[in-house]
Symmetry: C2
Subunit: 119 residues, 2 copies
């Protein structure tokens, strides 16, 4: 589909200078996709609860499932998603796998979210 296949409002209302600037500042599709994917990960309360749990300290899967009162399987599936987006890391310790927060962005993003909803 070409760029101009879609309806337009009157020329009066479209300021082509701005439209150009928007195109210029807009990240490319890959980056927009990655960004949306990242925020999607925060968009589930189970995953947010996992992150809050890991704010306290690193933990094995079973401890997380226990703290959140959910099944091991459900938690494991969600940890996979959190790990794919590099929000958490893990390491094996014997039979267990220990998960931990990957970096500080997690906390900053969640804190900003909280201050938004608390306004």
């Amino acid at each position: 589909m070409a760029l101009d296949d879609v309806e337009r409002c009157d020329e009066v209302h479209v300021h082509s200078g701005v439209v150009l600037k928007i195109h210029k500042e807009m990240p490319d599709d890959d980056k927009l996709y990655d960004l949306a994917e990242l925020f999607k990960v925060f968009g589930d309360s189970t995953r947010i609860r996992i992150l809050f749990a890991l704010f306290e300290e690193e933990m094995c899967v079973c401890d997380i499932a226990d703290s959140l009162n959910m099944t091991q399987s459900a938690i494991s599936h969600q940890l996979r998603i959190l790990k794919q987006s590099r929000l958490v890391g893990n390491r094996r310790e014997g039979k267990q796998v220990i998960y931990y927060l990957a970096d500080d962005h997690v906390r900053t993003i969640i804190d900003q979210g909280i201050s938004h909803i608390e306004e």
Copy 2:
């Protein structure tokens, strides 16, 4: 379902002190739900693109649709979601409705997201 209906790992692995602390620090369900709902809003590339457009300047619905090369209806549906979560505001100016960013959290959250994916 009671709190202890779910499987547990060996007592050795559950540090009840930590579990208690997690329960203490964990926001209540309403807040977790609201937080997840908020991030869900960021979890769609169309909505992110709308926010990027509004970073440049406030705009009417038609200009946004135009800049993003999408239908008025699709944009309008998404603006409704953005407005519900108070990320954007709007005002009517004659036939048009002008949308604008509600506050700075939007920018901070997106910037943190970008720095995470760029790491």
